[in-house]
């Protein structure tokens, strides 16, 4: 394929292949927030830039258009389809995550040349559960995190580390330790503006992670009891 490209197209492909934006496709509800936060932390700690549909609160912009725009700008993707389950009355499945995963595959396979180098990791609760509702993607390497944050951080950091241009930011255990410390500091950080950690917007949270990761030293305190940090 690369042989038929013009010089300009090859240039675009080369540049796209080195971009560091990671699209995060996962639920944004309170129940899932702990896993979402851990994903954002691992992405930033591994030297990438976290992007998701929450990054802009422009109500005038169509949500679907916003997602398409972010997907087209991101070279890498983290998709979590673990919350595809029936709920409500009548019981119907939540299908936003599989839809966005489909958009990602569509961009990858049908998009312009700069979309061809897209890579993604797909997480589910159990390894082969996805075959029951989205069997067309069988053959993809689906990772299971079982709702377990240490396992998620370990798998995601290993995947990011092995991407082209990826850097070694420490193993999953090391990143988990730093993340736990960050989590214990979060009430103090958000408290600066009289806010609870749950009230932080994605842009606030992303900024805090970025500044915290940049301030990391080898002597950064070990994880502590959140109560001690708040006191």
């Amino acid at each position: 394929m690369a042989q038929n490209l013009t010089k300009a197209q090859r240039s675009i492909l080369k540049r796209a292949a080195t971009a560091l934006d990671v699209f995060i496709n996962c639920p944004f509800d309170a129940e899932y927030k702990a896993i979402f936060n851990a994903i954002v932390y691992t992405v930033v700690r591994s030297g990438y830039r976290a992007r998701c549909a929450l990054e802009t609160d422009d109500a005038a912009e169509n949500r679907f258009g916003k997602i398409i725009k972010i997907i087209s700008e991101c070279r890498y993707g983290v998709h979590d389809i673990s919350r595809t389950e029936v709920s409500g009355n009548p019981p119907l499945p939540r299908f936003n995550m599989p839809l966005e995963l489909g958009l990602w595959f569509g961009a990858h396979h049908l998009g312009r040349d700069d979309q061809a180098g897209k890579k993604c990791i797909v997480f589910d609760r159990e390894q082969y559960r996805y075959l029951r509702f989205i069997s067309d993607i069988s053959g993809q390497d689906i990772h299971s995190h079982d709702g377990d944050i240490p396992k998620l951080i370990s798998e995601l950091s290993a995947w990011l580390r092995h991407l082209p241009g990826g850097v070694h930011a420490g193993g999953g255990q090391a990143i988990l330790g730093e993340y736990e410390t960050f989590r214990s500091l979060l009430p103090v950080l958000s408290g600066q503006k009289n806010m609870a950690p749950d009230e932080l917007l994605f842009a606030d949270f992303n900024l805090m992670i970025t500044e915290y990761v940049a301030s990391l030293t080898e002597e950064t305190p070990a994880p502590v009891d959140p109560v001690v940090a708040v006191a």
């Binding site: 675009i12 540049r15 796209a16 080195t18 971009a19 560091l20 934006d21 930033v44 700690r45 030297g47 990438y48 830039r49 976290a50 992007r51 990054e55 802009t56 258009g65 398409i68 725009k69 087209s72 700008e73 070279r75 961009a107 049908l110 998009g111 312009r112 700069d114 241009g165 850097v167 070694h168 930011a169 420490g170 214990s184 500091l185 103090v188 950080l189 600066q192 503006k193 806010m195 932080l200 917007l201 994605f202 842009a203 606030d204 992303n206 900024l207 805090m208 970025t210 500044e211 915290y212 940049a214 301030s215 990391l216 030293t217 080898e218 305190p221 502590v224 001690v228 940090a229 006191a231």
Partner: protein, 127 residues
């Protein structure tokens, strides 16, 4: 598919720093409207200092013998909570040596006699 801006190269990203293990930390795509980067940096430094302080017990809370100046100008060695001094000497150096004899496994702590850069007279110091 919507037209995306030209792809960024790693060198075209704005970075906010580098971790101790050499990972470049990229600035977020969108700006926070609640916090500035400087505010967050200050808050992180303050929070880490609080946590570090919480980890270490205060010197005045240790059970090492204390050496302090008496009203008569001499120095006494006293165990925490004791009513009477274990020893009284003419100089602080002698008192420190005596405290080490009495409690060989506990480094005595002494009240500062002199004021120093960044330290106040009368605060506890390790000997």
């Amino acid at each position: 598919m919507a037209k995306s801006p030209p792809a960024k190269t790693p060198s075209s990203y704005r970075t906010v720093g580098r971790t101790y293990d050499g990972v470049k930390v990229l600035a977020p795509k969108t700006k926070s409207k609640t916090f500035t980067a400087a505010e967050v940096r200050r808050a992180i430094a303050k929070a880490i200092e609080e946590v570090s302080r919480a980890d270490k017990p205060l010197l005045r809370e240790s059970d090492s013998p204390r050496i302090q100046k008496r009203k008569d100008g001499r120095f006494e060695v006293k165990k925490p909570g004791a009513k009477r001094a274990s020893a009284v000497t003419d100089t602080q150096t002698e008192a420190i040596a005596r405290a080490k004899e009495i409690e060989p496994n506990k480094a005595p702590i002494a009240k500062r006699v002199r004021k120093g850069p960044g330290v106040k007279r009368g605060t506890w110091r390790k000997t």
